[in-house]
Symmetry: C2
Subunit: 115 residues, 2 copies
DNA sequence: TACGATGTACGACGAACACCGTACATTATC
DNA sequence: GATAATGTACGGTGTTCGTCGTACATCGTA
């Protein structure tokens, strides 16, 4: 087995609706927002939000399979980075336009009915 | 009852992830693509694609509830239009960046370099 | 009033998603 | 080898989505 093996879609296979879906979740949006600095971040690094590890793995998988991120095993960690070149090549300006608002896109979403 | 009544979210309530989700489906992407001309289109007009009316109604509802479109009853038809101003005001450049690729968001390389 | 056209509302179904806990694999260190 | 740390894989549950058929409401017209 190879639990340290990740499948990434080819750059030419990226589809717009898949990418948009990958970014249509607050948790994933926040993760990508962190990755916008161009650096590699470990899964635990992105895990700043209060969500279990297994849940984060799930979101990271969706991001990866949409072709938005690349995951690379490094030692006992996984380093995740944005596939900026690939995404930009196929959809110029898309990532920037979306992530320009990635931080503030959570205004009145607080549907959290009290507590 | 008021089957001719539609609820639209307030402009200030639009959220990025909701909009991205609304655009994360090929059928809806195609519909919005048609609406990019700024004109009002009837539901049947958008229905060019081979999908049942009820399915289209569903997609239009998602678009409407995300704040992407506005639906207005007109005679025996419904006229749908893009809420360009509202979306642009809240997320400048987002719609243009996404819809610039709305047509080619298919599969493999469609290197149509726009023109 | 009756009819046809347009589009919604409702219910149903299968598939995919979001979430989580737990177990396992991998790596580094002792 | 034993241990701890990191993160995945594997279920499981509940929800939502995408799809469709059918029934109903509305409007325009005969």
């Amino acid at each position: 087995m190879s639990p340290r093996k990740f499948l990434h879609p080819d750059a030419a296979e990226l589809t717009l609706h898949r990418i948009l879906f990958a970014l249509s979740d607050p948790t994933r949006l926040a993760a990508v927002s962190e990755l916008m600095d161009g650096a590699e971040h470990s899964s635990g690094d992105l895990l700043a939000q209060s969500v279990p590890r297994s849940t984060m793995t799930h979101h990271l998988k969706i991001l990866r399979e949409a072709g938005v991120t690349r995951t690379r095993p490094e030692g006992m960690r996984c380093l995740i980075s944005l596939r900026r070149n690939d995404v930009d090549a196929r959809f110029p300006g898309l990532l920037d336009a979306i992530m320009a608002h990635g931080r503030s896109g959570r205004s009145a979403d607080s549907r959290a009915a009290a507590s």
